[in-house]
Symmetry: C2
Subunit: 154 residues, 2 copies
DNA sequence: GCAGGATAGTTTCATCTGAAACAATTGCAA
DNA sequence: TTGCAATTGTTTCAGATGAAACTATCCTGC
């Protein structure tokens, strides 16, 4: 058909690309808060973050809570066992699972990083007014739901 | 100080985490559009996307336009040269740089993927009304600016 | 009980990744 | 000029990654 054109894909305006760049910029900055100072990686930080509440969880529960794959969690855990950040206790009832808890050392790291991470979040959203922050929250929630739906369906 | 508590960091509500999960969900789904069918990777798709406009660019310009690191672009380019998706012509004036263009084969891939990618974007934003889409656009732009500012400053 | 399948977690393997070192070329300044 | 820093892009190396195979344990139906 004459005059038929490919729709223009302007990468800089393409939502998946923009989200990826924004997320990378932010993750990289946040990672600087703990990578050099505490020598922990992003997966390890996520494990600390979910165990920081004081709850004890299995590796599988950590995976679910952090949206990481089982293999990533497994590797983070083995590093953290070596560096003494967490404690692993094989379950009595079910010896496949093991309960994980932060050690005092792990908790100390959480106590130091959490305020820094929250302070970063505050600084980055400081360019938004309260209504915009609330809207961002709503929009991200809606998009995540739809992204999940589109991820599984064709 | 008695009663002093660490501020609670709820990972599921932490903006950097939410953005990371959303971005990963979306990227993974979009990548499925071209990974299996065309055998190209995310970096290669980004190169195709920016060269798809018809412009010819150097590797450095591609890096800037795609927010990728030089080394990533270099590797994507060498794969694409092998698979015949792009053409590289060393500059006359400056023989360090080389101009890159899509071949017919590369352009054909762009012509097939671009509509699929845009259709995905339409589907994912279909859960938002037009005002929300516009708001999302504004919010992401503001956040990216601030993220960039916080990335460079201490 | 016990065979077959499900579940929790680990390991293997091939690939990807980023930092830093490197090579090639250009521009600038003495 | 000519030497030195800056720019463009590539390669190297060590570690990270994900898919799939694997181990160990548990559960279910017979």
């Amino acid at each position: 058909m004459a005059g038929m054109t490919t729709p223009d894909l302007n990468l800089a305006r393409f939502l998946p690309y923009r989200l990826s760049v924004l997320s990378n910029t932010i993750s990289h900055t946040v990672a600087r808060l703990y990578e050099t100072r505490f020598g922990i990686t992003i997966p390890e930080w996520r494990v600390i973050a979910v165990l920081g509440s004081g709850r004890t969880m299995s590796a599988g529960e950590v995976a679910a809570a952090t949206a990481m794959e089982r293999v990533q969690v497994s590797r983070a855990i083995s590093r953290m066992l070596e560096s003494g950040l967490i404690l692993r206790e094989t379950g009595d009832r079910d010896r496949r699972r093991a309960d994980l808890t932060l050690t005092a050392k792990g908790r100390a790291i959480y106590t130091e990083i959490a305020p820094l991470a929250l302070a970063y979040e505050t600084r980055i959203t400081s360019v938004l007014d309260p209504a915009e922050v609330e809207m961002l929250d709503r929009l991200l929630a809606k998009l995540q739901l739809q992204a999940d739906a589109l991820a599984t369906s064709p």
